[in-house]
């Protein structure tokens, strides 16, 4: 059982505040990212610019900055942790942001999510077919970016990226299959299975973000492996935090309805943990409230949220997020990586986990 709840270790981490880390990463990576996207055909280029949050659906520049740019920051810090050249770091950052946006655009189609970052999803703004094309364009561009940045390590770097892409697909496939599986009894989704899915769906790309620059720069496998595993663990922690926010997050912040993931009957860790921890009356009641025979309304979701919390599902998930983050820190501190970059990475991770909770 995890026991490491409580604030994240931030002693070495507060040297550089997280917003400053994110801002520096954006300043370094975004011009290169925009230049890469500008090489696309004008149609997918415009839809990609919308997907990145750079413009509205009609092409007018957007005042909002799009996403936080966590993955580009991870890529730059991962590269700095092994002393990779800045140019390599920037190309890695561009590639992972391209893959991230590709996966958001296609995942929103698969999940039927109509909103993303308080705006229409790309498929809602332009149609499903054009959104499929946009994702494909970003995917191809990411591969090209790594292949061209790679020099003598290009083959290894592209294989590394392809492994990550394969993991993303596996995680998404697991998540799709989870939808049709029961909450209890035979075929129920277990906690280890859930965590394996989260490690693939969210962890793989953060692992790739931290390690791609080092692979491109020819860093030692011990270091690239430690960075990939750290990113994977942090990604798993972030996914669990997303699960918590999907139930208890402030709709003003998340842009999603109260108890949204309960209304959608998503197999999230807090609910799976509540079912597993109780396994009696509460589990049966949750299975009924979130099953096909109960209409998905606010009252049922509200009651389910209360049951999950009372059964300890919320606390368990929080502890798991902290456990994965702590494991990530162990990876980062034991592999001879540059202390400054590691400290900044730990601070950024702590900021992201704490701010969201």
């Amino acid at each position: 059982m995890p026991t490491q709840a409580g604030p994240m270790p931030t002693q070495t981490a507060l040297r550089i505040p997280a917003p400053q880390t994110l801002a520096r990463a954006r300043a370094l990576a975004e011009p290169a990212l925009r230049a890469a996207v500008a090489t696309l055909h004008p149609l997918p280029a415009r839809m990609a610019a919308f997907s990145f949050g750079w413009c509205e659906a009609d092409g007018t520049p957007s005042p909002s900055p799009g996403g936080k740019g966590v993955r580009q920051a991870f890529a730059l810090l991962g590269a700095e942790a092994v002393g990779a050249p800045l140019g390599t770091a920037v190309q890695a950052a561009v590639a992972v942001e391209l893959v991230h946006t590709f996966s958001l655009v296609h995942d929103d189609i698969m999940d039927g999510d109509e909103r993303r970052r308080h705006r229409p999803a790309t498929w809602k703004a332009y149609g499903t077919g054009p959104a499929v094309l946009t994702g494909d364009a970003l995917f191809a561009l990411a591969v090209r970016t790594v292949a061209e940045a790679g020099g003598e390590h290009a083959g290894r770097a592209v294989a590394h990226l392809a492994d990550c892409l394969g993991e993303l697909v596996r995680g998404q496939a697991d998540d799709l299959l989870f939808e049709n599986r029961p909450w209890t009894g035979r075929g129920a989704v277990g906690i280890p299975e859930y965590e394996a899915m989260a490690a693939r769906k969210t962890g793989a790309l953060l692992g790739c973000a931290l390690s791609l620059g080092p692979v491109l720069a020819g860093a030692a496998p011990l270091q690239t492996g430690a960075l990939a595993e750290a990113g994977r663990r942090l990604g798993t922690a972030f996914q669990i935090v997303d699960d918590l926010l999907g139930i208890w997050g402030d709709p003003q912040t998340t842009g999603k309805p109260v108890h949204g993931d309960l209304l959608r009957r998503k197999k999230t860790l807090p609910v799976l943990a509540a079912v597993a921890l109780d396994d009696g009356a509460t589990a049966r009641e949750l299975a009924r409230l979130l099953g096909p025979d109960t209409p998905p309304d606010a009252a049922a979701a509200d009651r389910a949220a209360g049951l999950v919390e009372a059964a300890g599902g919320r606390e368990f998930a929080l502890e798991e997020a902290h456990r994965h983050a702590a494991a990530a820190h162990d990876c980062l501190h034991g592999s001879g990586l540059a202390e400054g970059a590691v400290g900044e990475l730990v601070a950024l991770s702590a900021h992201l986990l704490q701010r969201q909770l």
Copy 2:
């Protein structure tokens, strides 16, 4: 004006009959392709097997052989033309078949095509979201296949593949934009623009098929360039033949309705050529029959087909297909490639063009 209509040059080409070439390619490539697909998550693996024609939607093995396997045959012959090792040739064949099927699965979503090879399209069989995932899985697997097969030339080979993927996206984007453009007047689609689209949408992958094995094997740029250009020209010719079949093809063979592309108002070369060649009453009548104010019925499509033929659009397209095929042969014969492989390739291309017409 093109003047090279008539039978394809087949003197050196008939040494090995095309069906034998296709059968040998299938025997070499399909086991490796099946092994690669088997490494996917079970959900996309099953949907991919359906997309390749290996099984029905419920997973029962299919008696039909799927596609003809033209791209895998091209890949093997391209590799043989430079004396590449067989293992490299097979991996190139696997990669291009993966990319081809990825593009079919996603294009059918974009184009709203419900049928493919006399069966439901993947998105009709499993839903749009799962079909998006299937394409992504195949795409990632193709990249991985090349990255792992590449050895010291991996970076160049993946960049080559990524260029091809980028061209596919550009061709598809052009094709999507063509839908909303007029037949005549300002903004009309010109013949050169059409041919650039066809070279991207269909030619790029055949160019990649012929040249990927050679790039993986470290062949000279003169040879890889000649093979890429030959494949691109042949692909353009095949696309034009597809256009002809989309209007005048036998529904029993094509699995599509009579005059299907006219009913769908597709911007195909025979119609664009008829409009460009006439530019008077016929062009205006075609624009009316295939415009938004005429209901897309059999009578209008029938009349449009007659007008296209009378204006010379059918003959022009046929001549263009032959012109591109002849240009491909010029590339193949002038670059010191192995004569046996080139002869087999020429015979295969002639067979494909003649059989379809």
